[in-house]
Symmetry: C2
């Protein structure tokens, strides 16, 4: 149990963490930090946070745990700012969709500051194409994968604390190195995002009135915020480019089978896709898929 948790960036993820931390009792007091007073007041009304502040230095002063839930390009700077103003040995984590760049920048920065705060990166695999605390849910992390990525300077104790925090919110915690994380999420999140965007952007508008559930499902994540995703893809450039190349190979195999009228090969490739989808889908209750 943490007596005070400070959440920097109270949107879908930060807001859900606040709701979940308060409901589970893992936090006695949750402080939200943001730039927009109206949004912070809304987060208080929603029960996501107890208190709000637009001043990071003040808001982290008493915190035992700080969680930075901002767009990936600003995570490192907020972690370092939080570390500067935090109690000695306070814990800091984040919720960014990339890890190697952030962990590297944070660890270099903490050494430079000669700061005793402990940073351990996290990535809850529980986002959505929706943003904003109004979509926050106390059960957002229940049964979901959260990847925790210790850096070179992370103490065993701090890694255990961060993993325990996520487990208290109901998550299934996986421990990967920052670069293992980035390679994995390129395949399961970043490449699917690029593919969904290409599908949506490439559909001739005259066919929009005809679309059905298949197109809507396949393109749902393309509704995500373009600037947030540009930052994510750019921070994970090399793994995403490798992942796109791997996807293009499988697509080319399907195309070649269709073009050469190789029915057996075409059916086998479709079967391979179904097998993968069925294996993964059977582990997730349909009711838990975000709408």
């Amino acid at each position: 149990v943490f007596s005070t948790i400070t959440i920097v960036g109270v949107g879908l993820i930060g807001g859900s963490m606040g709701l979940a931390a308060r409901r589970t009792g893992i936090a006695q007091r949750v402080i939200g930090v943001g730039r927009d007073q109206a949004k912070l007041q809304q987060a208080i009304k929603l029960g996501a946070i107890n208190e709000a502040s637009t001043d990071l230095a003040v808001a982290v002063r008493d915190a035992d745990l700080m969680v930075v839930c901002t767009p990936v390009n600003s995570i490192a700077q907020f972690v370092l700012a939080a570390a500067t103003h935090a109690k000695p040995q306070a814990l800091i984590t984040d919720a960014g969709s990339t890890k190697a760049t952030i962990v590297k920048e944070v660890e270099a920065g903490l050494q430079k500051l000669d700061c005793q705060a402990q940073f351990v990166g996290s990535h809850p695999m529980a986002g959505s194409e929706k943003n904003g605390a109004e979509h926050a849910r106390a059960d957002l992390f229940e049964g979901r994968a959260v990847i925790v990525t210790p850096g070179e300077h992370s103490s065993h104790e701090s890694v255990d604390s961060i993993e325990g925090f996520w487990q208290a919110l109901g998550a299934n915690v996986f421990r990967l190195s920052p670069s293992e994380h980035d390679r994995a999420v390129a395949a399961i999140s970043h490449v699917p995002h690029v593919v969904a965007s290409a599908l949506a952007a490439g559909t001739p508008p005259e066919y929009f009135p005809l679309v059905a559930g298949g197109w809507l499902d396949a393109t749902r994540i393309a509704a995500g915020d373009p600037e947030l995703w540009r930052q994510i893809l750019s921070q994970n450039r090399s793994h995403v480019l490798n992942g796109i190349a791997a996807f293009e190979k499988v697509l080319a195999a399907l195309r070649d089978a269709l073009e050469s009228e190789n029915d057996t090969q075409l059916r086998n490739l479709l079967q391979a896709g179904k097998n993968a989808r069925d294996v993964v889908g059977s582990r997730h209750s349909p009711a838990r898929n975000p709408g």
Copy 2:
């Protein structure tokens, strides 16, 4: 109102048509035709049909309207068999995901048989990765697009009747030529299916435990039956190949923007995908998306 409707193939689509036709009162009697007695009895229990038969010739004898809901490769032969045994001037439609090949084969066959039955092709855009009458829903077609594709020999009267039938089930009817239909559904259904299959088949299995809602959404349709989809893709080969080429171009533009670190271009392409998804998504209530 039709006094008797005969549905050949009582799965998700055929079963939903039966449920909807009975609930709306557009049919007084619905006969289901299939090979599997147990499945037909289940369809009766579910209320999708009143009567069942494994003998097509008997089941279509009194029908005013016959709907063939079998896999695309067998639609033309069932339509022609139904026409042979039907009352003169009976109406026949289908629910196949391709149209040009089917309409051509049926029209040639009807001329050869010198048969007065009227065929007008249909494609309800309301499928799912699920099969079987147990997933049938009386409201499956409500607010959904159904494309009706008159052939060269379709009378105005019969086209109007088929369109009226779908409208009675709550569908939004669009009239396209068979080849216009095939080009459109390549873009909005067949290419997304191939892309979803490639995404699912290409995901390294060691990452399966980490996936979240984005991957599950983007790959959902890959769970569809491989043989049904092989038939669909093969029947619509040229349009699907053109559609894949168009998709590959958009994907290459995204890849190039990422590779060349052209942030503006990358964000613009992601924004184009979001714009398309938002426009289409806003026309569909989320609750109506098949899970």
